[in-house]
Symmetry: C2
């Protein structure tokens, strides 16, 4: 494959600057251990607990970094995004810390609980039709009308650098790390993690974890160019991972991520149950995808003795739990 020139992208220094910037606001999340998971993985699994992060997900890191980077005048006009997931809550939370408005464009079909969560952090919800086209159009209209800055959920260097801060912590917490497993949706998290890991500890394998039903990263990595999902991403329980890679995240993943591993829905459900029952941690299904990879019998054969797994979020809908567990 010919090398294509890469555009400038976030560096280790950008991540370090982000870490200093967001440090007063976010948690240095702990590492959890679980003998039952270790036994299945055949190694020491270190669970990086971003489910215990502010707003219950790593998204707090990137959103706070982006909000803090705005100059005062720009910031005063507020921030805008389209999301019904953790990025929406994270941006509302980050904006409130600066006392600026957060405009969140959300489809009318989003569950009321998601809307209330954003409003609970002081966000202003704007309705749109449940199509990507109307989400983008509404987002741009709101930004134009308010003068607010659009903060995308993942395809943005400020976001990538912010998410990467968890890898600085992880390398300090687990010095003998051999591999780190990171769930992949739009790729902001794994891009940031890979940027840090390959700069500081290039021998550590960076492995993406994806639902087989939302396998665009695996397919894109294999093809060397951005590919769509082969399956039906709306059918995976890992709703945080249904998005596709972006123009900023894909080149980083192509160059720095070692591999993307996919897992089926049954494995994701088993991993969710495993973490709830044995680690006693509440995670969302997207976080279970990483555990499903680390405990996959095929993965075990690689013989990694010390494995990091990012538990990316803990915003589990308890009412849906019986369905999620099958």
């Amino acid at each position: 494959m010919p090398e294509s020139p890469l555009p400038a992208r976030p560096t280790l220094d950008d991540v370090r600057a982000a870490a200093r910037r967001i440090e007063p606001f976010v948690h240095r999340t702990p590492i959890a251990r679980c003998a039952a998971i270790d036994a299945l993985a055949g190694g020491d699994v270190h669970l990086k607990c971003e489910n215990l992060q502010k707003v219950g997900a790593f998204k707090a890191r990137g959103a706070m970094n982006a909000v803090r980077l705005l100059d005062d005048e720009t910031a005063s006009r507020g921030v805008v995004t389209h999301s019904s997931g953790n990025h929406a809550q994270a941006l509302a939370w980050a904006a409130r810390s600066r006392d600026i408005p957060a405009h969140i464009v959300m489809p009318t079909t989003a569950p009321a609980v998601k809307r209330r969560a954003v409003e609970g952090y002081g966000g202003i919800v704007h309705d749109c039709e449940p199509t990507l086209a109307d989400r983008l159009a509404t987002c741009e209209r709101v930004a134009r009308e308010t003068g607010g800055s659009i903060i995308p959920p993942y395809d943005d260097d400020r976001i990538i650098a912010g998410q990467g801060t968890l890898a600085l912590e992880l390398l300090g917490q687990v010095p003998d790390l051999e591999a780190v497993v990171v769930p992949v949706g739009g790729g902001g998290l794994i891009s940031g993690v890979a940027t840090v890991v390959k700069a500081l500890a290039p021998q550590v394998r960076v492995i993406g974890a994806e639902p087989a039903l939302a396998d665009d990263a695996a397919r894109s990595k294999a093809a060397g160019s951005i590919q769509p999902h082969a399956g039906d991403p709306t059918a995976t329980i890992a709703d945080g991972l249904r998005t596709t890679l972006g123009a900023r995240t894909f080149p980083i993943i192509r160059e720095l991520v070692d591999e993307i591993v996919t897992v089926d829905e049954a494995a994701i459900g088993r991993a969710l149950r495993l973490v709830l029952e044995r680690s006693k941690l509440v995670i969302e299904p997207s976080a279970a995808v990483g555990v499903a990879v680390a405990t996959d019998p095929m993965f075990r054969t690689r013989g990694h003795r010390t494995i990091g797994v990012v538990l990316c979020g803990g915003n589990l809908d308890l009412a849906r739990l019986p369905d999620l567990l099958g």
Copy 2:
């Protein structure tokens, strides 16, 4: 109230010896914090995470202490108890660590999942009828036939001393503690905690937390003698707290515990949801009882600024969760 002479009971030294004895086998469990709980409690709430303890409950401490205290010849004949709860799993787990048999008497009505959990730790399950009389009779028969030592779930000085070890940790982890809230079933946990706290930090208030439907400790403390539940203990979701105080635990509670606070089922359900959704920790309903007390508006008026709450266990039946949350 006239002082009645107390029989000898576990001392701080007994608890310290237990801590040294069990230290290689149990976790020094972490403290979790949660801004949402702090806000409701009006103070800093430090959650002592015994849900992350071995076998998912503080019961590992007392069971291990009792098993380690047996001399080799006695131990070789095994241990016996009647329980379908966390003590059963804890005793099986502790016995396995010494490679001795654990005979667990369990009513035929106990859920299959409880039986499998005990068997998973290598315990031998003996059926009995679901009456206290047959539980006791079967337990004694098994002990007679095997020569095994009966290890009761709470009314035993070895158990009380073992459970108290968590308070040694808590006082080290939260030096400015003003009150500690401890769920009360048979009273083994709070007896051990009160023994330590009143010896080392007598200004710290020790507060029992009980479901209103299983309020024998509150009634017994008020009456100065062991009283039955006024409500129907089988109706509380906090199934670990349905038992009543014993001859060994009651005198300690009478003298050393400052107060027992009861909470209704709605408050327990709300606290369970609060911890799952906001702390991202899996706890069982019995552990929610302590959180329900700490976040009770009446309790808040007391103005404790630094409060410990023992999350006594994490063995939540996920299939029952929708019912538990109401």
